[in-house]
Symmetry: C2
Subunit: 123 residues, 2 copies
DNA sequence: CATACTTGACAATGGCATTGTCAGGTTTCT
DNA sequence: AGAAACCTGACAATGCCATTGTCAAGTATG
């Protein structure tokens, strides 16, 4: 397996930086919930050599997607899994289309929490 | 969109034929459940001039998809709605890909799909 | 007239999502 | 070293959802 060497770019959205408590506070959920998402295979944060979870910016956005789908659109975790798998298979950003619908339903102005459209971490 | 005049072809899969009790027995659900699906906007059976529901073959398959997604894949109705909307927007048969997952059996070539609609877990 | 359909309501059951905590152990920081 | 935060696994409470089931009052059909 060819592993590309990335020099430590502090702005690399794929770089693992947040421990679970920080990640949880960013997305406003209980750390327990993040572990559940991981057990469900919906997000896979990196680990330090000593097994500590480290969430990247991409992981955070992915979790934000899960929250959007579950809280605003009412989809359960099984549905989220299907949508993620589907997006990966189709190689399309199908979820972006859902964002408009969600914004239409919920007047809660999701842009308040994320100025950039949430985007699941690419494969 | 092509609005064609259909002569009363008894085999037209879009032709409304089953009353709710028959449709319910075909897909093995309570009639109550079919009405719930309709209220949720997941299936829209035709009506007689006197307001009686008539399900077509396409409606039946659609309900079968709902059952497959909910019972086998654990998706809730909100998730089903998203998937249906997505399929309609993309104009793609994205759901067919999900069926493979449910029955990951053989690696046989993508089958020359006999009729345009898939049949989930045919009993 | 009897049977099956319509809508609307109410309820019971079971399952899932989320939060929360506790225990025993490890890592990190001061 | 000691405190704080992490790890896994388990257990529980709350609340919502899906499904089935029934009842009532009204309409349709043979």
């Amino acid at each position: 397996m060819r592993v590309t060497f990335r020099r430590p770019d502090p702005r690399d959205p794929g770089r693992p930086v947040y421990v679970i408590s920080v990640a949880a506070s960013i997305v406003s959920v209980h750390p327990r919930t993040l572990r559940i998402y991981e057990d469900a295979g919906l997000v896979c944060p990196a680990r330090t050599p000593t097994n500590i979870r480290l969430y990247s910016e991409n992981d955070i956005r992915r979790v934000m997607w899960i929250r959007h789908l579950t809280q605003n659109l009412g989809v359960n975790l099984a549905g989220v899994r299907i949508l993620f798998e589907l997006e990966e298979r189709l190689g399309t950003r199908i979820l972006e289309r859902l964002y408009d619908e969600g914004a239409r339903d919920a007047e809660v102005a999701p842009a308040a929490e994320a100025d950039t459209t949430p985007e699941p971490s690419p494969a």
